[in-house]
Amino acid sequence: MTDKIKSAFDEIKAEDEFRTSAKYFLYEKYNKAPEKSNKSIRRPVFAAVCAFLVVLSCVGIASYSIPVSAISLDYDNSCVELGVNSFDKVVTVTCFGENDDIENLKLKNKNYREAVTLVINSTEDTDSSAVLSVNCKNPEKCKEISEQINQCNFDNTSVDYNSQSHHGLSSEAHSHGISTGKYNAYLELKELDPDVNVDEIKNLPMKEIRERIYALSPDENGKNDGNDDTQDCSGTENTSCHTSDRQGSGQHHGKNGK
């Protein structure tokens, strides 16, 4: 049996074609010049460039969408807080209380001056006044925003200003369900009256909180002239920077309206 199988397989030989194709394959391997390929350099560079562009886009999107300043507009019954990015555009709008009309204003991606003007001019109750608070880590930016808003023309409502630079308090304020401006006012009041708690002032109008602060503060009673800007910026990150516009004797809120 072995011999028969052997002789059967012996007749199977590699055809000439088989050998020729193998020899040609070898010839190509040994004699063809390797293609100069820049692939080995191009791919990592291309990947690095793509990665860099992706990171840049993410940073760009992040820097656009992350607010660095907060402008709070507190009315008697409600509050609107605008988150402003480093390009001076409104990127977040947070409402507290009754603010059904604010959504119709489409404030996002507008310059903060335009947004603040729209919000204030949309108020129907012309007898009320809004308390505006600016919160920003950078005292100079804080001041710049306040000055810019100061130059805005509002139709009806009077606006009080109070700018502060405790930017990190936004999340704390929102966790209590109040605006940053109101929360800063609460902290100011708490320094003067340690017994006060956040639930007490939650539903108080901002004007009333400011009046209580004024009443308790020993330095405020009639000592300042109407048009003084009182600034106290010590330059450290957590220092409050107050800018108050005062007009007339005995009054502690300024008016900016037609």
Binding site: A8, I12, E15, L26, K29
Partner: protein, 161 residues
């Protein structure tokens, strides 16, 4: 990389053996060519130092068997081609040999491999077990079953007298 002379020497020495192994394991000529080129490429790029000619031959058999297995694993290969690979063979074969080869090639591949390695290449069951990475007892079983199948199919042709 091995020299061109070594590569040509390998073609002359092993092309017949590789052709036979491809015939036993594959279904068409084109696949056999691909396998041969794959085996040659592996040989050229391999830096393995062979202890003897037998060692080198065993290496070629092992690599060829693996390359044939890879052909079957390939997703794009059709799996319904007829098993008549002798039609692809381009040289003359005697009628008696044709019958024997047809019968062997009709067996399942596990039997074909052991028959080729045992009866033609002359490897022992132990050596076949090492080449195919199977248990020795499995090889003995395969050989005994393959013999029985061949005896049943080719009773008059394989046995003298």
């Amino acid at each position: 990389m091995r020299s061109e002379e070594e590569a040509y020497r390998a073609i002359e020495k092993y092309s017949d053996m590789i052709r036979r192994i491809c015939m036993v394991n594959l279904k068409n000529y084109a696949d056999s060519e691909d396998v041969f080129q794959t085996v040659l490429l592996k040989y050229i790029l391999s830096s393995k130092v062979f202890e003897s000619e037998e060692h080198e031959k065993a290496w070629f058999i092992r690599v060829t068997l693996n390359a044939c297995k890879d052909v079957f694993k390939s997703f794009f290969r059709t799996k319904t081609e007829p098993l008549d690979t002798l039609k692809d063979y381009k040289s003359e074969i005697s009628t008696e040999s044709t019958d024997i080869l047809h019968t062997i090639l009709a067996l399942p591949s596990k039997y074909r491999q052991v028959i080729y390695l045992y009866y033609y290449e002359g490897y022992s069951a132990v050596e076949i077990a090492k080449l195919l990475k199977k248990n020795v007892n499995t090889v003995y079983t395969l050989l005994s079953r393959a013999k029985k199948l061949l005896k049943d199919e080719l009773a008059g042709e394989l046995y003298d007298g």
